[in-house]
C-alpha cells in the first residue's frame, strides 16, 4: 500500500494568503484537484514539505466574459466541458478538456492543474522501488536520462491536453505572487526541459487563463492514445484558424502536444497556410511540415517512429475538420467518443 509522505497542510483564506505561505515556506507546493500531485507524492516523485490548498477558493472558480473569456485556474475540467459557451466558441479547448483522463478525474482536476501538469516519462512515472532499481533518473534523485543516456537535459514529455489547445487559441495566463502579478502568453510559461518545464517561479500561483474573443476563429483538438479513456496523450494536435472573406486562411496556429517537454508551435506549417485555401494538397503539405517539427523520443507508449508518422495524419485530420469535413467516423475510430 502506498501512503502519502508526511507534509504540512495549509488552507488559506484567499489567494494572497496562499501566495504568502508559498513564499515563506521552504519546498511548498499548491494543491488544487490533486489528481497529478497526489499520485506523484505517493510514488515519491514529488515530495513537498508543505501543501497550500486551493480547492476551496471560490475566486479561482469563476468564468467571466469580457472582450474574450477569463477562466479561473480552479475551474474543474468537468465544469469547463459543461460550459456551452466554451463548447461553441472555443471548440478545440472543449475537445481537449473532454478527453482528459476520465469523468471522475475531470470532476476533481482543474484547468490550472492540467496546464501545470508534471512532465511524464516511462522512467519517471514509477514507484520509488522501481526507480531505485535503475538508480533513478535525472528528473528525480538520479543523474542520467534513461531515454537518451547522452542527453544533458531531461526529456520527459509534456502531457497536458488543454495547453496545446489554449496555445493555439492565443491564450494568456496570469501569475500572482504576494507582491503583484504578471500576465504572459501561455507558450511563454513553458520551456523544453523536462525538469524545469515551467517558467513559473515557486512563489507564483497560476490564477486565471485569458482567451481572446473567439468569434471568427475555428479550433479543433485531436488526441492519440492507446485507450479511449484514462490515458495521457502520446501525441496531440491542436489547430485554430481564422478564415478570411474568400475562404482562405487569414491566420493559423498549429500546436503539437506530447512530442517534447513543452507544447510545440508549428510555425512553418502555420505560416505556410496563410492566404491559402485548405485544399487536399495544401493540407498534406502543412501536415508534412508539422511532422518535421515533431521529435518524439522513446519515453511513452508506442514507438517514436510511429508517433512521428502519426503526426502528419493527425494534423491532416485536424485541418480537414477545420475545413468543414465531416470527421465524425474518424473521430469515433480514434477517440472512441463523439466530440
Amino acid at each position: 500500500m502506498m501512503r502519502l509522505p508526511r507534509f504540512h497542510y495549509y488552507r488559506p483564506r484567499d489567494i494572497r494568503e496562499a501566495a504568502l505561505v508559498l513564499a515563506g515556506e521552504e519546498n511548498a507546493m499548491v494543491i488544487a484537484g490533486g489528481t497529478d500531485l497526489l499520485p506523484n507524492m505517493k510514488r515519491r516523485q514529488q515530495t513537498p514539505r508543505t501543501l497550500v490548498a486551493l480547492r476551496h477558493l471560490d475566486e479561482l472558480k469563476r468564468v467571466t466574459n469580457g472582450s474574450g473569456l477569463v477562466i479561473g485556474a480552479g475551474v474543474t475540467l468537468t465544469d469547463l466541458v459543461q460550459d456551452r459557451g466554451i463548447k461553441s466558441a472555443y471548440r478545440g479547448l472543449w475537445q481537449a478538456a473532454a478527453q482528459v483522463a476520465t469523468p471522475h478525474l475531470r470532476n476533481m482536476g482543474t484547468l490550472g492543474g492540467n496546464i501545470c501538469l508534471d512532465t511524464r516519462c516511462n522512467y519517471y512515472d514509477q514507484n520509488h522501488e522501481w526507480r531505485k532499481a535503475i538508480d533513478f533518473c535525472m528528473k528525480k534523485d538520479g543523474a542520467i536520462c534513461w531515454v537518451s543516456t547522452g542527453s544533458k537535459t531531461c526529456l520527459a514529455t509534456s502531457s497536458t491536453d488543454t495547453a496545446p489547445a489554449l496555445v493555439s487559441l492565443g491564450a494568456e495566463v496570469e501569475l500572482e505572487t504576494a507582491h503583484g502579478q504578471r500576465t504572459i502568453p501561455l507558450h511563454e510559461l513553458y520551456r523544453d526541459d523536462g525538469i524545469h518545464y515551467l517558467t513559473r517561479s515557486n512563489e507564483e500561483i497560476l490564477t486565471r487563463i485569458i482567451l481572446p474573443d473567439g468569434a471568427g476563429t475555428r479550433s479543433v483538438y485531436w488526441k492519440l492514445r492507446r485507450r479511449g479513456s484514462f490515458d495521457f496523450p502520446v501525441l496531440s494536435v491542436a489547430a485554430a484558424i481564422r478564415f478570411g472573406a474568400g475562404g482562405a486562411v487569414d491566420e493559423a496556429r498549429i500546436v503539437l502536444g506530447a512530442v517534447a517537454s513543452q507544447p510545440v508551435l508549428c510555425d512553418s506549417a502555420s505560416e505556410f497556410l496563410n492566404d491559402r485555401s485548405l485544399t487536399d494538397e495544401v493540407i498534406e503539405e502543412a501536415a508534412a511540415l508539422c511532422a518535421r517539427a515533431a521529435k518524439p523520443v522513446k519515453n511513452t507508449d508506442f514507438s517514436p517512429h510511429w508517433r512521428k508518422r502519426a503526426v502528419a495524419r493527425l494534423a491532416a485530420y485536424a485541418l480537414q475538420e477545420l475545413r468543414g469535413d465531416d470527421m465524425r467516423a474518424t473521430r469515433e475510430k480514434i477517440a472512441r467518443q463523439a466530440l
Binding site: 509522505p5 508526511r6 504540512h8 505517493k42 469523468p103 478525474l105 484514462f230
Partner: protein, 183 residues
C-alpha cells in the same frame, strides 16, 4: 516569516473534521496525509469502498462527494470537511436494495465484485442527474471504472434494467413484478 507563522492553520498533527457520510453526521480525527479512502476504510470501517491502484488509474475507490463521483484515493480526507459523502453502504434504504444493486445481482452485473461498489455509485450519480441515459452516455459515465473480469456487457445491461425498474417504480409498479427480476 513571522507573518507566515501566524498564518499556520493546520499542521502535521491530526485535525478534526466534520462531514456527512451516508446521510449521517460524523466527526473524524485525521492526519494531513490521509486520503478519503483511508479514512473511510480505516477510521469508519466502511470497507465497501475498494482500494485498487491508489493512483487514479482504475476507479475502484470512487465515492460521491456532494453527489459527484470522485476518486477517494486522490482526495485528502481533510478536504472532505463539510462535504456530504456517499459510499456503497448507504445505497440500500430501509433494508431494501437500490434498484441498481438489485439489477446488478439479477443480471450478473458483478463477477468478482471488486469494481462493483464504485460502478454502482457512479451510475447512481448519473441516474440522479439524468434518469434516462442511452448506452453511449452510460459508457461515457463509466469510462473511468475498470472491470478486470471484463464484464462490461452485463454491467451495461444491468444499468439499463435498473433504469426500467426505476421508471416502473416511479409509476407505482411493484418492483418485484417487473419481468426479469428475481434472478
Amino acid at each position: 516569516m513571522n507573518k507566515v507563522t501566524t498564518l499556520k492553520r493546520s499542521q502535521q498533527q491530526n485535525a478534526h473534521i466534520g462531514c456527512q457520510v451516508n446521510r449521517e453526521p460524523v466527526q473524524v480525527s485525521v492526519a494531513p496525509g490521509k486520503t478519503l479512502l483511508e479514512m473511510l476504510r480505516e477510521d469508519l470501517q466502511l470497507t465497501g469502498t475498494k482500494h485498487g491502484c491508489e493512483l487514479g488509474e482504475c476507479g475502484a475507490c470512487a465515492v460521491l462527494v456532494d453527489g459527484e463521483p470522485i476518486l477517494s484515493c486522490l482526495y485528502l480526507a481533510l478536504e472532505a470537511e463539510g462535504c456530504s459523502i456517499d459510499t456503497v453502504e448507504g445505497m440500500a434504504l430501509d433494508g431494501r436494495l437500490h434498484p441498481l444493486q438489485e439489477a446488478f445481482a439479477d443480471l450478473g452485473g458483478a463477477q468478482c465484485g471488486y469494481c462493483t461498489p464504485a460502478i454502482l455509485l457512479t451510475c447512481k450519480a448519473l441516474l440522479d442527474k439524468q434518469p434516462d441515459p442511452d448506452r453511449d452516455q452510460i459508457r461515457e459515465a463509466l469510462s473511468g471504472n475498470l472491470c478486470r473480469c471484463t464484464g462490461y456487457q452485463q454491467i451495461f445491461e444491468s444499468v439499463e434494467e435498473a433504469i426500467l425498474r426505476l421508471d416502473h417504480s416511479e409509476q407505482g409498479t411493484d418492483l418485484k413484478s417487473v419481468p426479469g427480476s428475481g434472478g
